[in-house]
């Protein structure tokens, strides 16, 4: 059994006629339920539910306070390299984009780590493109060993690996895996992943599960919003999270709802996802899966991020550079996308406090 079996059930689902049938009283009834099912989750993602965002927000706020309290965990990504053999239509690191490529040496990683750690951050997420030649597992493991000296939690957002490779990486000190499906719709997936190993839909879809089997502590999934009609992708992301949580109760599952940002060699064919849509997605998700972590990146603007805090965010990036070596070198590699919230860690921390929430810098340790 793979999540693909769940996906298949909804492959030919008529979303439009489902949404047409949802009524306002359905939404009110769902909002009064203790636990909601898949179809009720989908109803909360419907256009009709847009009329109940405030009610949904009140409910989501209470659930979030109960499960996570007034606390927001901070982390930052660290780009190790931007070499990539894939051709993803929506990404600046795409093999066909003529950008400055760079891979940090181990010394540079240490310098970058020192610079980031000096801001007080203790949780780090390392990223690369997909290039087994430039950034093989052995390189990642060496990097992790260095980062362990400076950080209490290390996450990875790399290319999909096998269960065994994940076990090795966990052994080295990694505790969290982020892997986005990008788009759950199989046809669109095939279209936007033009060439490279990433074309393998199934291998990618099962990657979070391999991470769970390898015993990652945290597994973070998501769809890149804008590649398909957002309500469908939001729905499938929720189902995927639910599937993983039920099958692997010892893993903390979280999701990110990234929206496509401008980048080098821009991709035009984007489905709109408004702020209101993003909010509806987060609220529906919180009500469907009250225990789920929700991560908001600096792709979103400072103002929006601050307003999202009470709606169920559990984790935020801060002080971000998407450039390789962006924190410590002048000779940077080009960024993956443009960030929107450019505030420093200190500024983000103050903003969280002024919202009545506690910024958390450390929520794990190597044990």
């Amino acid at each position: 059994m793979s999540f693909y079996n769940c996906y298949e059930k909804f492959k030919n689902f008529d979303y439009d006629s489902f949404f047409e049938k949802v009524t306002e009283s359905d939404i009110l009834r769902i909002l009064n339920k203790n636990k909601i099912d898949q179809y009720e989750f989908l109803a909360l993602l419907s256009p009709v539910a847009e009329n109940f965002l405030e009610e949904m927000a009140q409910r989501a706020n209470i659930l979030s306070l109960q499960h996570f309290g007034k606390a927001i965990l901070l982390f930052t990504p660290m780009y190790l390299a931007n070499h990539c053999i894939n051709q993803c239509a929506y990404c600046g690191y795409n093999i066909n984009n003529n950008i400055k490529r760079k891979k940090l040496t181990l010394e540079e990683i240490e310098k970058e780590a020192i610079a980031i750690a000096s801001t007080g951050l203790r949780h780090i997420l390392i990223l690369t493109g997909e290039s087994p030649k430039d950034t093989p597992l052995s390189y990642i493991i060496e990097a992790v060993k260095i980062l362990k000296k400076y950080f209490d939690s290390i996450g990875i957002e790399l290319y999909p690996m096998t269960e065994d490779e994940y076990k090795k990486i966990i052994e080295a000190g990694v505790d969290s895996l982020t892997i986005y499906q990008e788009v759950y719709d199989e046809e669109i997936y095939d279209r936007v992943h033009i060439s490279g190993p990433k074309k393998d839909y199934h291998f990618r879809l099962d990657t979070p599960e391999r991470g769970c089997m390898a015993k990652m502590r945290n597994v973070n999934i998501g769809a890149l919003l804008g590649l398909n009609e957002w309500r469908r992708e939001a729905f499938l992301t929720g189902l995927h999270a639910d599937y993983l949580q039920n099958k692997y109760p010892d893993v903390a599952i979280s999701i990110s709802p990234p929206r496509i940002r401008p980048h080098a060699g821009c991709f035009e064919d984007v489905y709109p996802v408004t702020d209101k849509n993003l909010v509806q997605y987060m609220l529906a998700l919180r009500i469907f899966l009250p225990y789920l972590g929700i991560t908001i990146s600096t792709r979103e603007s400072a103002g929006l991020r601050d307003n999202l805090i009470p709606l169920g965010v559990t984790k935020m990036s801060a002080g971000v550079s998407t450039e390789v070596g962006g924190h410590s070198t002048d000779d940077k590699g080009e960024g993956q996308f443009e960030i929107s919230d450019i505030r420093s860690v200190e500024e983000v921390k103050e903003a969280i406090l002024s919202k009545g929430y506690q910024p958390i810098f450390k929520d794990w340790m190597h044990i």
């Binding site: 109960q66 309290g69 007034k70 007080g120 209490d152 502590r217 109760p249 225990y291 810098f361």
Partner: protein
């Protein structure tokens, strides 16, 4: 009021508080002061000795007993490792065992909790295990060397009150260690209820931390815990199981032979 003894230490306050969900660490000293708690729990995973301003321990007065918890542990082995780290980091030798391998409801794994308790008690820790109220598991915790038993009133963070009342009552009646009701208590009246039942203490986190005014809410809990204890000590009058019916069905028996 009578004193509570845990791990050989006499405690005046029967309210233990958690630190995880406050809007700011700066409020913690005022909360502690207003409810006069003597034992404060914190997730060791959150303790950051490197950063003074962010270090939770800086906000807890020195005369308070630290009760680090093993939150994040998925099995006994990880709980043991976290407990040892806690001691090495200078958090004393009290430890609250929290072994949770269910991220959905955050329900404790009693079996792994018993294993961890046994190992840590032998190493000289004062072990307070968080558990699902189950009599046999509680008995095994006693044998394993626990210093108190902490059954949940309802799943963590739900603020639903003591939903496990019947089972907790059995533990109170049958187990010779202090029973501390942990998790689920959402209002002072529910804390009082636990104390009236005969619990030796309660641990409250979410209900205080997420109140609009945590300092006053902490005070309200402190009064409720005291009130509940006094009520328990003054032996509550027996409650009638069934209300007296206004037209009794057996009244004729008193009326003599017809």
């Amino acid at each position: 009021m009578d004193k509570l003894v845990i791990g050989g230490v006499e405690l005046k306050s029967r309210l233990l508080i958690g630190t995880g969900k406050f809007s700011s660490k700066k409020i913690i000293p005022d909360v502690i002061k207003s409810c006069e708690t003597q034992v404060v729990t914190m997730a060791l995973r959150r303790v950051d000795l490197k950063a003074k301003e962010e270090n939770l321990l800086e906000y807890i007065p020195k005369d308070i007993i630290l009760l680090p918890n093993t939150s994040g542990a998925r099995n006994a082995e990880e709980a043991v490792r976290i407990a040892r780290l806690a001691r090495a980091m200078g958090c004393g030798n009290w430890i609250k065992i929290e072994v949770i391998s269910d991220n959905k409801y955050l329900l404790p794994d009693n079996q792994e909790t018993i294993k961890a308790t046994e190992i840590l008690a032998k190493e000289g820790f004062v072990v307070l295990p968080y558990m699902s109220p189950d009599l046999m598991a509680a008995k095994r915790l006693v044998e394993a060397g626990a210093a108190a038993v902490m059954p949940l009133g309802a799943p963590i963070g739900t603020n639903r009150g003591i939903k496990t009342k019947e089972l907790v009552q059995i533990l109170i009646d049958e187990i010779d260690l202090p029973i501390i009701v942990d998790a689920g208590i959402g209002r002072p009246s529910e804390a009082a209820e636990a104390m009236e039942m005969g619990a030796e203490a309660v641990l409250v986190n979410t209900a205080i931390a997420t109140a609009n005014d945590p300092v006053n809410m902490a005070k309200a809990f402190s009064f409720a815990v005291k009130a509940g204890r006094i009520a328990y000590l003054s032996k509550l009058g027996p409650t009638k199981q069934y209300a007296q019916a206004s037209s009794p069905l057996t009244g004729f028996l008193n009326e003599g032979e017809l």
